[in-house]
C-alpha cells in the first residue's frame, strides 16, 4: 500500500514518504529489511558464497543482518566465536560440551546459547524466524512441561489493520482491560494494563487531565462518559524512529511491534510515545502457569522477560489468524471496531466513511490508526 491511496485524511507535515511499493514496511526498497529477494545480485552472491565456503566452510550461515549492511563477512558469527572462546574459561559452554551431563541439559544450554546470540527478528528470514520460535517452544516445554503453540506468521498482503472506538457506547466496564491482560499474558504482579479507560465528565469535552483513568466504582457513573486509549499503531510512529537498535518497528500490516529479545531496555521509545502506549517490565513478569495463554505469537503475547518493552499489538496472534483482538471480542457494548482498512467492505471502513471520526493529537503528525467517533 502506498501513501497516495490512503482512504483517510492524512496530515502531511513534510515527513519523508515511505516508498512501500515493494510491499515492505521497513521503508527500504533495496532489500534492506530482508523481505526482498535479491535476484539481481545473485551472481555476485554466488561468487561470494563460493569464496566463503572455501574459506570457512559450512559453519557460515547467512542471516538478515548481512543483508542489511551487505557486508562481505559474517560478523555475528565471528562475534559468536569470539565470545565463545572467551566464555569457555568461564564454563558457560561447559554444559554443552560435557559428556556427563544429560542430553536435556545439553540441549537447554544449546538453546540458551543460540537465543542469546540470535539476531533481530525484523531482519530474519522466514526460516530463521521458525528456528527461533521452535527453540522458544522447546525451551518452554523443557522448563514447564507444557506445550505452547507459537506462530511466526508474517503480515499478509493487502492488509492494514485499523481500529475505531465508539465513545457513545463505552460504559466503562473494563471487560476489555481484563480480557487483554489474560490474552496477552501481562505481568500480574505490577498489574500491567495496555488499555486505559478514562472517565470524563459530561459537558466538559475531552479533558484528559481531569479524567480518572484508575477508578474503582460502579459504572457507568452518573454524568460521565468513557474513552479508552492504548497503543494506536501510528502509521508514522515516533517510537520506532528513536529506538537505537531497531527492536521496535512497523510491520507491513500496520502493526507496531517489539522484538522482546532484541530490546535493550533503554525506554527511549517510551519517552517518544505521545499516547502512553508502551509498558515496561520493571521486574520479572509473573503469570500463574494455569492462566498462561498458550496460543502465542513471537511478536505478540509470548512470555516476556524483565527489562524489556512491550505494548498492545492488536493481538497479533489473533488478528493475523483472522480473529478480532481480545478487547473487541470482550466489549459487551460493541464500542470497539477492528478490521482491515484496505478492505472496502469492512466495518471499520464503513465507520470511517459514514461517521464523524477524529484522532487524538493529530497535530503531532503521528497518524494513529485508531479513530474515535460518536453515534
Amino acid at each position: 500500500m502506498s501513501r497516495s491511496n490512503k482512504k483517510w485524511f492524512s496530515l502531511n507535515l513534510g515527513r519523508k514518504q515511505h516508498d512501500n511499493s515493494g510491499s515492505c514496511g521497513c521503508g527500504k526498497t533495496s532489500g534492506g529489511c530482508g523481505s526482498h529477494s535479491n535476484d539481481s545480485e545473485m551472481s555476485e552472491e554466488e561468487f561470494y558464497n563460493a569464496a566463503v565456503d572455501a574459506s570457512i566452510g559450512d559453519e557460515r550461515e547467512k542471516d538478515g543482518f548481512d543483508q542489511v549492511f551487505d557486508v562481505k563477512m559474517d560478523r555475528r558469527t565471528a562475534f559468536r566465536k569470539l565470545t565463545a572462546s572467551l566464555l569457555i574459561g568461564a564454563g558457560a559452554v561447559n554444559t554443552s560440551c560435557n559428556v556427563l551431563s544429560s542430553d536435556e541439559s545439553k540441549e537447554k544450554a544449546q538453546i540458551d546459547w543460540e537465543e542469546q546470540f540470535k539476531g533481530n527478528y525484523k531482519l530474519m528470514t522466514d526460516d530463521e524466524k521458525k528456528g527461533t520460535v521452535d527453540r522458544l517452544v522447546r525451551s518452554y516445554q523443557m522448563r514447564t512441561g507444557k506445550t505452547v503453540s507459537m506462530s511466526s506468521k508474517n503480515a499478509e498482503e493487502d492488509v492494514l489493520f485499523g481500529y475505531a472506538f465508539n465513545i457513545s457506547k463505552c460504559q466503562g466496564y473494563m471487560d476489555c482491560v481484563s480480557a487483554c491482560v489474560k490474552e496477552n499474558n501481562q505481568d500480574r504482579n505490577s498489574q500491567m494494563q495496555y488499555i486505559r479507560i478514562h472517565e470524563m465528565k459530561d459537558g466538559e469535552g475531552l479533558k484528559f487531565d481531569e479524567a480518572d483513568d484508575n477508578y474503582y466504582h460502579e459504572v457507568p457513573a452518573e454524568g460521565h462518559f468513557y474513552l479508552g486509549t492504548q497503543c494506536f499503531h501510528c502509521d508514522n510512529p515516533p517510537c520506532v524512529e528513536v529506538c537505537p537498535v531497531q527492536a521496535t518497528w512497523r510491520e507491513d500490516d500496520g502493526l507496531v511491534v517489539v522484538d522482546y529479545d532484541w530490546c535493550v531496555g533503554c525506554r527511549y521509545c517510551m519517552a517518544a510515545c505521545p499516547y502512553d502506549g508502551r509498558r515496561f517490565n520493571w521486574s520479572k513478569p509473573e503469570v500463574p502457569e494455569e492462566e498462561v495463554n498458550h496460543n502465542q505469537h513471537y511478536l505478540g503475547n509470548r512470555m516476556r522477560k524483565k527489562g524489556v518493552m512491550e505494548k498492545c499489538t492488536f493481538c497479533v496472534q489473533r488478528s493475523r489468524a483472522g480473529k478480532n483482538p481480545a478487547c473487541v471480542e470482550a466489549c459487551p457494548t460493541g464500542a470497539r471496531i477492528f478490521g482491515n482498512l484496505l478492505d472496502p467492505n469492512s466495518t471499520i471502513r464503513w465507520v470511517l466513511e459514514n461517521k464523524k471520526v477524529f484522532r487524538l493529537k493529530e497535530d503531532l503528525g503521528t497518524e494513529p490508526k485508531f479513530w474515535y467517533f460518536m453515534d
Partner: protein
Amino acid sequence: MKQLKVFRSLVKDGFDVVTHGTKNYHLWMGFLTFMMLVGMYCYSIQLSEGLSVTGMTDRVSWGLYISNFTFLVGVAAAAVMLVMPTYVLHDVDFKQAVLIGEGLAVAALIMCLAFVIADMGGPSVLWHMIPGIGVFNFPNSMLTWDVIVLNGYLFLNITIPFYILFRHYQGKEAKSKVYVPGAILSVFWAVGIHLVTAFLYQGLQARPFWNNALLGPRFLASAFAAGPALIILVLAIIRNFTEFKIQDKTLKKIAMVVTVAAQINLIMLISELFKEFYAPTHHSESAYYLFFGLHGKDALLPWIWTAIPLNVLATVLLTFHKLRNNPKILYFSCFILFVAIWVEKGFGLIVPGFIPGPYGKIAEYTPTGIEIGVTIGIWALGAFIFTILARTAIGIELGQLRYRKDK
C-alpha cells in the same frame, strides 16, 4: 618496540605514584573505594530484581540516572573551554589547567557511560548496540548519534593528553603539529556532544517541555558554567594539596568564562519562564508543575526553589569583579553554581518532562535508596578515575615522573 617499553615503564611509574601518598590521600581513595563497593552492591540488587527497585515507573520512565547522565555530558563538554585558548590560541596561562580539564572530561564521560548502562533494562544484550555486530539504528535514532559522539569525544580526550604526557614523560616537547588538529577537532566535538544530547530530548514531539528550540543552546550555556566551575574547584584543591603551580591568572580567566556562561544561562532561563508563564498554554503544564506544583502535587518545588536562588546568587556574585577576584567568594559561588545547575539539569529538566503524562496524569517520582546508592557509586568511580589521572599527570608535569633509559 621502544615506545612499548616506555609505555610499560609509564604504567609502572604511574602505578607507583597512585598507590603512594599521604594519609589523607589514602583515606580519600579508601573512601571512594568503599562508595564504589556500595554502588556495586546496589547495582547487583538492581540486576537481580530488575529496575523495579528504582523509583521509576511507566509514567516517569527516566529518573536519577538519566538526569546525571545529562548533567555530566555538560561537565565533559566544558573541558573545551580550556582546550581552545591553550592549544589553539597559545595562551600559556591555561596550559596546566587544560590537562586537568581533560582528565575531568574523561572521568565525566566514563560516568556518563556508566549511568547509561545502569539505566538499561538489559545490560546483557548491550552488544545489540555495537555497530557492526548488532543493529545500529543510525541515523534515525538520536541515541545512536550520542553513542558515537560520546565515545569519539572520550577517545579524543584520552589520546591528546596521553600524547602530551607521554612526550613529557620522556623529557621531550610535545609536537604541536600532532596535537593541535586533534585539539581543534575536540573543540567542535564538545559542542557536538552537547547539542546531540540536547537533541535526544528536544526531538520528542511527545514531550512539549523538552520539545523547544532553546533546549540545545541552554544546555551549552549551563554546561559552560557548571563545567569550568567544577574545574576551578578542582584546581583550587590541587593547588592546596600538591606543589603543582597554578597561577591566579589562570583561575581568574576561567572564572571569567564561568561568569559569562552563567549570565547567558540566566537570560535564557528568563526567556523560558516568560514563554511558559506570560501566555500559558496546555504545554506549559510541566513548567507549572516544576515551579508551582499541579493539583497539590509538588515534589519538585523544594529542588527547583533551591536551585533558582542559588543560580541567581552565584551569577550576581560572579558578575562583580571585586567579589569574583576574592578566592573565597569565587570558590563559594562556583560551588553553589555547580549544585544549582546539577539540580536544574537533573530534577528540573528530565523529571518534569514526564509530568504530567501524555494524558495529563500526574504521577510523581522519588528516587529510591538503591538508585541513590548506584548514583553515588558512579560518582565515586568518576572521582576515583579522576584522582588517578590527575596524580599521574601532575607527577609528569612536575618532572617527578620521568622515563629513565638505564632502567
